[in-house]
């Protein structure tokens, strides 16, 4: 047996290992370049009071969640009770961006299912969403007291994601500040 005849087998073995690793990955999840960086500036009319603005500066000073939602988004409906419970527990303040939605239905939606948000920005054109690199609703950002994005989750939140990823981050900031 000559070593050079072994080369194809070795190359194939490496390839098979790679393919095996691939089975455990989700190729559709795109990590955001914004994580670790400062949240983008934005200024949106508030859903409950369009005369007032919701801006980046409103997020500063405490750790917060920024949840991008819409009434047409099925996953948003699924995760909503979780957000309502979280808001009620007072663990963390939750802000919303109402993405590419209609004004009236959005308000009705909050009235019917509960409003966990300190406030929601009304992003009819989706421009703030684009600045946040939003591509699949719902999306949830964890933003630290200095206004940096420390974590992003795409898709509906579930208790596991909350416990394993989001709440530890939130607690670490609480520990630091208090």
């Amino acid at each position: 047996m000559k070593t050079r005849h072994l080369v194809p087998l070795l190359v194939f073995a490496a390839l098979a290992v790679l393919l095996g690793m691939g089975l455990d990955l989700n190729p559709r999840i795109v990590p955001s370049p914004l994580v670790g960086n400062s949240a983008p500036e934005f200024s949106l009319p508030r859903l409950e009071d369009p005369a007032r603005r919701f801006e980046r500066s409103d997020l500063l000073g405490r750790v917060s969640l920024l949840n991008v939602w819409a009434t047409w988004c099925v996953g948003c409906r699924d995760e909503h009770p979780l957000l309502v419970d979280l808001a009620r527990s007072g663990t963390v303040s939750i802000f919303g961006i109402n993405y590419k939605d209609q004004y009236r239905p959005a308000l009705d939606w909050l009235r019917r299912y509960g409003n966990p948000y300190v406030t929601s920005g009304y992003d009819a054109e989706g421009l703030a969403g684009i600045d946040f690199g939003v591509y699949g609703l719902p999306e949830t950002f964890v933003i630290d007291p200095q206004g940096n994005i420390v974590y992003k989750h795409v898709g509906p939140l579930d208790p596991a994601v909350l416990e394993e990823h989001i709440l530890p981050i939130v607690r670490s900031f609480e520990g630091a500040s208090g």
């Binding site: 047996m1 000559k2 005849h5 072994l6 194809p8 087998l9 194939f12 073995a13 390839l15 098979a16 790679l18 393919l19 095996g20 690793m21 691939g22 089975l23 990955l25 190729p27 559709r28 999840i29 795109v30 990590p31």
Partner: protein, 655 residues
């Protein structure tokens, strides 16, 4: 015919395939006897799979929505033609088609192998049986197409409207005939390695099978591209999508194998390399199946995925390819390559051809799998698209085409530069003249375009010159005396030239316009005036369509009346753009209907695509060449001769 019968037939087919796989390797009994069992196994297995396939087709035709697969992929309103093609419209049924085709190839090998030694043929059938068994198990275990849905659905969810197109109906069977056909050379190679003997006969047996698979693969890929062009509404014909790549990689390897078999047959050289290519060919098919069916890559064409299936195919891939390559590592050292040759010889050129094709296949594999590796290593995500692939593909292909013009003129074993150059001179002169003319006519924009056209002209000119020389060398009425293998090569190389012309000109000088037109308004593109006449409602069998009428005129004379449609399928409300195309030898006019823009105006996309037909025309020439080569009398006569007496030399001298 009940689905349970189909399921049962499939389970039986699995058992029979095990017998087919085991018998040739069992001890005891003579070789003839073992072959007899394997042969019978192959035939019975084919009949059983065909029965199973018929049962599924029957369920589709009779709207049996108690079968989950039918309920997900058909609908009461689906026309009969698409109900039959819907069988392979999703994962389970397409896998059944795959298994049917594999059994069919097994059957063909069992029926045709008169000149093969009994024990060798038995082993080939045994290996094919083992492959069948693997796929049967996959179907039965993870992808049962006969699973019941109880209670039955009242109506089905419908076949994806994208697949309701003639191009898509024929594309998968063709492609699978090619993919699965590569299993035959693969099993020939493995059987030969098991024997430890590889002589020129081996290549002679393998070659027609390879050519056949290659022909189907060529036709299948071309059909897929034609479908994308017509159906996706973008006017594109190749997107370097992972699934397209998965079909293209086996094609490249099969093309290399085709050429390397020529050397092995004529000169008994590169035998171990040829065997390796035969292994690579089917391995690439399997890799493609894994990529399409496991969900590791994002693709428009990918089937609904299930990790369990991915794990199975990967394990199967490991056993089959790993086994074959281990066998290769153990036995390749015993293969003795004969046939020395000089630097300048046809062998050298064919070897360069092989290196180029394999390099391109490896590059495309790299580009397809790199995002996966990138993510697996935790570097994030990455997209690799047409800009990268075109850059890596075009230069190698043009170099390859350049050599395709020289290779057939070169002598086996040894040639000298002076006489070779003299032989090529007429073709070179013709190329320059033709090239200059074309460049002048089209005022080609970039160096790359000019170069590509020159190379296409070169391939065509030198191929035709070679043809003429061979024709003159023979006696009168020589055309039918020329070996079909040679005619096949001539057609295929002309196909390459045509393809290069089409691909180059379409990408370089196409015009695309998105316009807003109200009835009565018109827009001019590339000298054609497109007048928007009106839009009216047209009911389809299972969709509602709005059809626009566009009057196309050139210099005031009507060229075509185009009727693009916007369809909304009733079953799921999915909208489809059905482009209207006026096909021509030198250009296509392509109109797609967009959305109404208010005030009676509509958005329209108008394409002028010069020479786009040449892309598929070229592929058709290649496939035709393949058909001719398969029917070469070398194979026919030998078979006939060996059936009667062990005859001597078959091919007459042509000088």
């Amino acid at each position: 015919m009940s689905p349970e019968l189909g399921h049962f037939a499939l389970a039986l087919a699995f058992c029979v395939s095990l017998v087919q796989a085991a018998a040739p390797f069992a001890s005891g009994g003579g070789a003839e006897r073992r072959l007899g069992i394997a042969r019978a196994g192959a035939r019975v297995q084919f009949l059983l799979v065909a029965l199973s396939y018929a049962a599924l087709t029957h369920a589709f035709v009779t709207h049996d929505f108690s079968v989950a697969y039918v309920a997900s992929n058909s609908n009461l309103e689906l026309p009969l033609f698409y109900r039959i093609s819907a069988v392979w419209g999703a994962h389970e049924g397409s896998m059944l088609l795959w298994v049917l085709i594999l059994a069919g190839w097994s059957c063909a090998v069992s029926a045709s192998g008169a000149p093969l030694p009994a024990h060798f043929q038995a082993r080939v059938l045994g290996l094919l049986g083992a492959l069948s068994a693997g796929f049967h198990l996959f179907l039965l275990w993870t992808s049962n197409p006969f699973e019941r849905l109880l209670p039955a659905a009242l109506n089905g969810r419908d076949l994806n409207p994208l697949l309701q197109d003639p191009g898509m109906a024929f594309h998968p069977p063709m492609l699978y005939l090619g993919y699965v056909g590569l299993a035959v050379p693969f099993c020939f190679a493995c059987a030969a390695l098991l024997d430890g003997r590889l002589d020129a006969k081996w290549t002679r047996w393998t070659r027609p099978w390879t050519t056949m698979s290659w022909t189907f693969l060529t036709a299948g890929i071309a059909l897929g591209s034609w479908w994308a062009y017509n159906e996706l509404g973008w006017g594109g014909w190749w997107f370097w999508d992972p699934v397209e790549n998965a079909s293209f990689i086996p094609w490249l390897v099969a093309t290399a194998l085709l050429h390397s078999l020529a050397v092995s047959e004529h000169r008994a050289a590169f035998k171990s390399w040829t065997v390796l290519l035969a292994i690579f060919g089917f391995s690439a098919s399997l890799l493609g199946a894994f990529l399409v069916r496991s969900g590791v890559l994002v693709s428009v064409h990918a089937f609904a995925t299930d990790p369990q299936r991915g794990v199975y195919i990967l394990a199967f891939l490991g056993v089959v390819v790993g086994g074959a390559l281990t066998l290769y590592a153990a036995r390749a050292g015993r293969i003795r390559d004969g046939g020395a040759f000089e630097y300048l010889s046809r062998e050298t050129l064919l070897l360069v051809n092989n290196v180029l094709l394999v390099v391109v296949a490896a590059a495309i594999t790299l580009g397809t799998l790199y995002p996966l590796a990138y993510q697996a290593l935790g570097w994030g995500t990455l997209s690799i698209g047409p800009p990268w692939f075109n850059l890596m593909f075009a230069p190698f292909m043009l170099l390859l085409a350049l050599l395709a013009g020289i290779g057939p003129h070169t002598r086996w074993r040894s040639d000298t530069l002076g006489p070779l150059a003299r032989r090529l001179r007429p073709a070179a002169v013709a190329t320059l003249l033709l090239g200059l003319l074309v460049l002048f006519l089209l005022s080609a924009r970039t160096l790359g375009v000019g170069l590509a056209l020159l190379i296409a002209a070169w391939v065509a000119a030198s191929t035709l010159q070679n043809f003429r020389q061979r024709l003159r060398a023979g006696s009168r009425m020589a055309l039918h005396r020329l070996p079909r293998g040679f005619l096949g090569m001539t057609l295929a190389h002309l196909g390459v030239a045509a393809f290069i012309v089409g691909a180059t000109l379409t990408s370089a000088v196409s015009t695309e316009r998105d316009v807003r037109l109200a009835p009565g308004e018109s827009h001019e593109v590339a000298g054609y005036r497109f007048e928007f006449l009106d839009v009216h409602e047209v009911p389809g069998p299972n969709y509602e369509a709005r059809r626009a009428l566009i009057d196309v005129r050139r210099n005031g004379e009507r060229v075509a009346l185009l009727a693009p449609e916007k369809r909304v399928y009733r079953s799921d409300g999915q909208a489809m753009t059905e482009a209207a195309v006026d096909a021509g030898v030198t250009r296509d006019l392509y109109v797609a209907l967009g959305e109404p823009l208010g005030g009676g105006a509509w958005a329209l996309r108008i394409h002028h695509k010069p020479f786009v037909r040449w892309i598929w025309g070229g592929a058709a020439l290649m496939a035709l060449g393949g058909i001719l080569a398969v029917t070469d009398r070398r194979y026919r006569r030998r078979r006939r001769a060996e059936r009667r007496t062990p005859a001597g030399e078959a091919a007459p001298a042509l000088r």
